[in-house]
Amino acid sequence: MRRLGILAAALLLAVAAAIPAGAVQPGERLADPALEARARSLSAELRCMVCQNQSIDDSDAELAHDLRVLVRERLSAGDTDAQVLDFVVARYGEFVLLKPRFNARNALLWGTPVLLLVVGGAVVFAFGRSRRRYASEKLSGEEQAALRRILDENGKGRPEGA
C-alpha cells in the first residue's frame, strides 16, 4: 500500500504529492541479518501514519524513519515480534497496523471470505443435488418411444461435442 497510492491519488484526485526518494537508509540497518530481516517484515506491516497508504518500510517520511529505528531498537532489546507490535500499537493505536487484528470489531472483515466460500459452496452443492435428482428422473414409456422415433428420423445421435 505504498507509492502507488500517491500515483493513483495524483492521477485520480489530482492532488500534489512529493515522491519519496526512498525508504530504508543504509545507516539504519542492524548488523545481525536475522534481526534485520525480522525488522523488515515487521516494517512492512506498519503504516506510515503521515503518508497515504505506505508502510514505514517504503516511506522516507521523518516519522517512518523514527518508527523504523524504534522497531529495530525493540528487536535489539530482545522483544518478540508480537511485543514490538503491541508496543507500537500502544503508542499509535490500531491505525498503525496494516493487517488488522482478529477481534470482535474486525470479525466481518476476516470472516467474509470464509463465510462466503462456505455459504456459496453450500448453495452450489445444494443446487447441484436438486438438479441431479431432477435430471435423473426416468422418462415415461411414452416419452422413451417418442425419443427413439425422433432419433431414428434424424438418422444419427446427438451432434458431437457442443
Partner: protein, 662 residues
Amino acid sequence: MIVETGHFALVLAFALALVQSVVPLVGARTGEARLMAAGGPVAIAGFALTALAFAALTAAYVQSDFSVANVWQNSHSLKPMLYKVTGTWGNHEGSMLLWVVILAFFGALVAVFGRNLPATLRANVLAVQGWIGAAFLLFVLATSNPFVRLEPAPFEGRDLNPILQDIGLAIHPPLLYLGYVGFSISFSFAVAALIEGRIDAAWARWVRPWTLAAWVFLTGGIAMGSYWAYYELGWGGFWFWDPVENASFMPWLAGTALLHSAIVMEKRSALKIWTILLAILTFSLSLLGTFLVRSGVLTSVHAFATDPTRGVFILGILVVFIGGSLALFALRAGSLTAGGLFHPISREGALVLNNLFLTTATATVLVGTLYPLVVEAISGDKISVGAPFFNLTFGPLMLPLLLLIPFGPLLAWKRGDVFAVAQRLMAAFGGALLAVLATLLLVDGASVFAALGIGIAVWMVLGALTDLAQKSALGAVPLGVAARRFAGLPRSVFGTALAHMGMGLSVLGIVATVAFEVEHITVMKPGETTEIAGRTLRFEGVAPVQGPNFTETQARFVLMQGGVSRGALISSKRIYTARQMPTTEAGILTRGLSQLYVSLGDETGDGGMVVRIWWKPLVTLIWLGGAVMMAGGAVSLTDRRLRVGAPSRRTRPSAVPSGAKA
C-alpha cells in the same frame, strides 16, 4: 469560441441523453417502431457531441488557453506536446469527460452493430445506456465542469503533476476506462432483459463479446497501470493493494467471473439468472470504483464530509443505479426460466467453481477496501487494511482456482470424467513437478513455498498447452492430421488457452520476483563498483541535464558480468520547475525476462549517494502475461461464431471437438 462550443455540445449531449432515456423505452413499451428506432441515431449523435466537447477541451490544452480554469490548474506552456494532450484527462474534470465520451462511444457501437438485435431489446438497451449517460453528463455539467473560464486570464499555468508527465498517462486511463465503462453494455443488456422479462439466445450471444472486449481493455489498463507504478515510483513494487487499485481490480475480478458464466449461458443456456446478476454487479463495482476515486472518500472520511458535493452526487447515482437494478432483479428474476441441466463434474460445474472463487475473492477485496471507511463512519475509530491483509486472504482464495484452471477446458459439457482429464494432464503435472524439483535444487535458498509457486505457474502454462494438444488430437492421429486439426481449431479455443497461459506467466513472474528478488541498499561514489546477484554494477558518475520543464541529475551505471559490459542504465532525480517538485526516475536494464532496477536516494555529503539496487528475476513476465491474456481475449473476439453469430439466427451446434472429444 472553441471552449464555448465544447460546453454547448456537452449540454446538447445531455439533452439528447434524456431523449435516449425515454423515447426508445416508450417505443418498446407501446410497440411503436418509430419511437424505438429513434434510439440509434440519438445515441450516435450523442457520441458525436460528447466527442466534440472532448476535442474542444483538448484544443484548449494544446493551445495552453489559461483562461480556462481547468487548463490553468493542470497545464504549463513549456510542457511537451504529448503531455499537453494527455493532460486533458490527467485531472478530475477532464477524466470524467473522458468517462462520458467512452460511455457514449459504447452506446454508439450498440446503435451501429446492433441493427440485427430484436428491436425491443435494442431499444431497451439504448434507453438504459441513456440513463447512465444522462446521470454522468449531469454530474459533469453540475459539479465538474471543465469549461469554466477565468477572468482575467493568468499568464502561465500551474503545470501538470510531474508524476503524471509520462507516456503512461497516454495509455493507462483510456484503457482502464474502456474496460470500466465497457461493462456498462453488459449492464444495460441485463437491465433490458429484466425489463422485457425474458432472456433468449440473442441476448446470450451479445453479452459475451461485449464483456470480453471490456475485459481485454481492463486487463490492459490494470497491467499498464501496474508497470507505470513500477517504473515511475522508484521502489519497484508492482501491486500495492491500494484502494484506488482495488477499485479497478474488483470490476476485473467480477468481469472475469461474468465472462466465464456467460460462456455457460451461451453454450448451454444454463446459469441465466446468475449471469444477469453478475452483469449488474460488475458494472456496479465499476460505479463504486468511480465513486471511491472521485469523491475523495478514500483520502479521508472527513475530507469527504467537508466538500461533499461531488461525492454525494456520485453516491446518488450509485444508489439509484445499483439499488434500482437490484430491485428490478429481485422483482423479475423469478419470471426468468432456468436453463439446462448439468452434472456437478462437467465443464459447467468447473465454471461454477470458478465463479464461486472469483466472487468470493471480489467480496474479500470489497470488504477489505470499505471496512476502514465503515468502521470510521460508525465508531470513529481509524483502522488500516493493507497489503498484509489482502495477501493473507486473497492469496489462499486464488490458490485452488489456479490449480483447477487446467481442468476446466478439458472437461466435457454436461457430464465430465475427472479421472480421464487428470490422466490427460499427467504430462503437465510431471512438468510442474520437474519445475519444483529444479527450483529447489538449482536456486540457492529457494523455499518450498517458492518452489511450489513456480510449480503452479508451470502447471498452468503446460495445462493450457495440453488443452490445445488434446483438442488437435496430438499423438492420437498422424502428425499431419493433428497439424490440420490444430489450424482448424476455433479461435475461442486458442483464446482460452492463451488467456490461461497468460495467467500462468503472470503468476510465474510474481512468484519469481517476490521469492527471488535481491535487494541491495548502499552508498556509492563515482567509480565504485558493487556486487548484486552475481553481477557487478559500476557507478560511472553524475551529470546535470536540462529538460524542457525540469532540471535533472543523471547517474550512469554500467552492468558487468565476467568482466564484460552487459549494458548501461541511467537513473535520475528531477526537479520540475513550475511546482518545484522532485521526482525519481528509476534506471531499468532489461536482461532477458529479468530486470536490474536502480533508484537514487539522498546524497551523503562526501560525494557519495545512497543507491537502491534490485535484481528482479522474470519480473517482465508479470506484464507480458497480461499482454498474453489480452491477446487471448482478442483472438477469442475474432471467433467465427461471434462474427457470424447474428443474434437472429439459430444457434448451430458448434463444430468444436471440445469437451466430449478432449
